[in-house]
Symmetry: C2
Subunit: 242 residues, 2 copies
Amino acid sequence: MDAVVQFFEVLPLPPAGRWPTADAIAVVDVLRATTTATMMLHHGAKAVIAVADRSLAQAIAEEEGAILGGEIGGLRPPGFDLGNSPREVDAAVVSGRVAVLFTTNGTRALCAAAAAGRAAAVAAVNASAAIRWLASSGNVIVACAGERGGTAFALEDFAVAAHLAQQLVQQVPEVALGDGARLALALPEPLRLARRARHAAELEALGLDGDIAFALRPDLVDLVPVVVNHGEGWARLEAVHA
Amino acid sequence: MDAVVQFFEVLPLPPAGRWPTADAIAVVDVLRATTTATMMLHHGAKAVIAVADRSLAQAIAEEEGAILGGEIGGLRPPGFDLGNSPREVDAAVVSGRVAVLFTTNGTRALCAAAAAGRAAAVAAVNASAAIRWLASSGNVIVACAGERGGTAFALEDFAVAAHLAQQLVQQVPEVALGDGARLALALPEPLRLARRARHAAELEALGLDGDIAFALRPDLVDLVPVVVNHGEGWARLEAVHA
């Protein structure tokens, strides 16, 4: 790996105000928005447009003739073509199409990150590719999407960020670390810990336990959804093979 | 211990907006505001008034004829009687007096917590007393003060929160846990980890390494500074022996 990364930080929550300066920002909403966005591109979607607001998502989908996917409270909202299940992303449906994705935490955090710097969606399924993508920038951040619109901490996102941190530091031991990254490095077996998250229990209660197992399997694909364009409340992501 | 605690959560940062509902909120700014507030009461101060703003702190100190202590960037601001060193709190100076304390993170978080519910200042030096105080309420939160006005994560505060979480769960294994508490419980040797915080390195660079060793020694005293009165930008804390 041709690493140039010099400083690495993990944000336990997306910043409420100004984001710190960074050359690359990876947003994690492993259950399930960033996992689903990754699988949409893997199954041939031309782009995923992450949208911060439901009605804007519907408007963009209509304008673009795009597939509309997402969730509110874990469930597919009325009028949406797809829910937010990474397992159920079907090449027959998304291949060659643009997909618009709206969720209550991950897509909002992606839009905020896109406004702050060069941003991407990362998850366990593309962890190693995400590390290669991050390591090619100098000052990098992994931002956890959290829950309740990014105001509350979500264990599963921090756990995946910790998995990324541990792999990155193994490969680039000399990288300087922020306090969030130091916490992440101290955490034993992060991907196991992710299963104990409150949101994992909620998805199980909805019969979606298959999504948890799927979303926490690392390195299923080698692409990173990277923001190529963005505006107020939306960010367009396309596949970068890293 | 006559524990009634039913739900326990750790907030990695103080909430930017609305605080979650809780019966008791413990604020940690171990380096050094909550440690210093504890030591002021231990050395006989009648009360500590935590103030969110420097000029308000100066006005309150003048009005109350109080000792004025605090820091900006680790150092005693001009015109203040004391800095923010828990080691340097002197009974000869504070005994029988009211102390006003202003710092850039901890006293702000205390004022915000006081507005949200029954609040106290906790640190390593009063960890066991803090656990006894917390365990007597049903729904409890430990909020980390963080840094940069509470917008950035501080490892040392989360580490002390993790120490509290681990002790509490040992004593009350049936307590329900939020995601922040689950992360805290997964952390090995939290008080050791606190020494690796960025802010610890900054204090060392200022020649204040003695404060770090002092602040991370658990259970030096058995009192908890509890908010007894508060208003816009200030909270008055008095000793509760727990």
